[in-house]
Amino acid sequence: MSDPLRARRQAVDTAALTARYPEVFRTPWATRLVTLGSLGCVAGLAAFAMWWLDFSAARILNGFGRLGEFALLMLPPSAEDRFPAFLGALAETLGIAFLGTLTAALFAFPVAFLAARNVVPNVFVHFVVRRGFDVIRSVDVLIWALIWINVVGLGPFAGALAIACSDFGALGKLFSEAVESADRKAGEGVTAAGGGSLDRVRFGLVPAVLPVLGSQVLYFFESNTRSATIIGIVGAGGIGQYLTELIRVLELQQVSFIVLMILVTVAVIDLISGRLRRVLIGGERR
């Protein structure tokens, strides 16, 4: 801070001001108590959690030492002539993500209208559909993958089905919210011009929500390229399979190579889909 500023600051007589307007400077003790109390609760629960989960400083210190060693072993990243195999696995990962997202979107699209209050006025129907979405959504992708492996066997197909399932729930919820927040005037116009309720959905709602849904699907595709990289941990295909194996046998140079490949791929996908999303949303505004 420069000197003139500091001088100016001291020139303000805070003590006199406090004496003149005490109520402005005083924090009510009730507010203070609530703040301190909630902070205390948060910290107390954190301390309890650390105790319950066996946090130990010794383990953390030792672990960081080993992590440091690992970091050194990771350098330099190298594929050691398995680059084509990694590329293939990465393509598989992208395939899983794309197919999973597409399937989820195709199935979620019609069902989401059932869950929207402004399309199906029946409280019972949309309550059931909503809770159905919630149940499907609360099961993690990896658990879905384990279940699908029982059905179609190990491999990327199970991964694609797992992503399709878990995203069906998430996209269904988002889609139905988008449909509910759509402008109702267009639909009312269609009804006034003599359209039936299907016409209202087709010409009044779908054109309004399609760009929003499209951008959400793209966003999910982005996040699914990330999830698809881990689905191999349970044997459902993609680059995760290599990643798990190589971490287990401590081939750390190849691990860091794969992580770099994933980072680059995710960045590229983000870039492309970000562009597409802007076209979708921007095209609608014009």
Binding site: M1, R8, F55, L67, L142, L146, V152, I233, G237, L243
Partner: protein, 294 residues
């Protein structure tokens, strides 16, 4: 007021019709092109992901019969006994579920604190040097792009098995994800209070404390709650790689075909996630709502 609307001159109306037809055809062409592109990509993805529709249709019976098998045989006559048999491991599972929740809590808290410290450096309007801003952003990006379970895999080797590893993995991923969201919130604030405080001689930290924090705190809390909900799900599968929580039990049950155990544990996870989901949603609405009325 019974005035007839004069029809357009034929040449003019033809021109308008032609322009309309052209516009419609262009839209249709674009739609068909994008559909074809999506279809081609889907087929390519299908080959990459080794999709076997025949296997799916042939084995879809397995899926339904699997669902049938994991459901317990409950009879009305002996409902208490059947329930007790279904949930034979309730004390153990409840403890593990509690552990999962604590992992999610601690992971969110630690990650949130780290994100809180880093986000001001990553916000373009508050960062003091452009290089620092760029570096902070890249670090956050790496932290959130590497999935938490990959961190857990590496940490399990370095720190040994156990829930502590799961917490660290969750915390690191959370720091990256929340750091980005937080910095976006900070970038959207009204800069006038900051300018005012800086002009009256406040330091960088003082400006953040008295001009930025009051504007962003409720949004931070709301994002933190959202992340907590996501982390509960994430903590549920940490056990798959030996990083604590209920995931290990579930993995064992699925792999060893302990059918009714699978449904019992799944049901507990689903119920917990849904309760947390509803609770955090209500809290978030209250947080954001109180922000709106102020």
């Amino acid at each position: 007021m019974n005035k007839r609307i004069a029809p357009l001159a034929p040449a003019r109306s033809e021109a308008l019709k032609a322009a309309y037809a052209r516009a419609v055809a262009a839209t249709r062409r674009r739609t068909i092109l994008s559909l074809v592109a999506i279809a081609v990509l889907a087929v390519a993805a299908g080959f990459a992901a080794e999709v076997k529709p025949l296997v799916l249709t042939g084995n879809i019976g397995n899926f339904t019969s699997y669902l049938g098998q994991i459901l317990p045989g409950l009879t009305l006559a002996n409902i208490r006994g059947d329930l007790a048999e279904w949930y034979w491991g309730l004390p153990k599972w409840a403890a593990l579920l509690g552990e999962t929740l604590l992992m999610a809590y601690l992971g969110t808290l630690l990650g949130g604190l780290a994100a809180f410290v880093l986000c001001f450096g990553a916000a373009a309007n508050l960062a003091r040097t452009r290089l620092g801003c760029f570096l902070t952003r890249r670090i956050l990006e790496v932290l959130r792009t590497v999935p938490e379970i990959v961190f857990a895999l590496i940490f399990v080797i370095a720190f040994g098995l156990g829930p502590m590893v799961g917490v660290m993995a969750l915390a690191i991923h959370t720091a990256g994800a929340l750091g980005k969201l937080f910095s976006e919130v900070v970038e959207n604030i009204d800069m006038k209070p900051v300018d005012g405080l800086t002009a009256s001689g406040a330091t960088h930290v003082e400006a953040i404390r008295f001009a930025v924090l009051p504007q962003v705190l409720s949004n931070f809390a709301s994002y933190g709650l959202l992340r907590f909900e996501i982390n509960v799900r994430g903590a549920g599968v940490m056990g798959f790689v030996g990083a604590g929580g209920i995931g290990q039990e579930l993995l064992v049950a699925i792999r060893n075909f302990y059918y009714t155990d699978v449904s019992a544990i799944l049901l507990m996870i689903i119920a917990t996630v849904m309760v947390i989901d509803l609770a955090t949603e209500r809290l978030r609405h209250r947080l954001i709502g109180s922000e709106g009325t102020r």
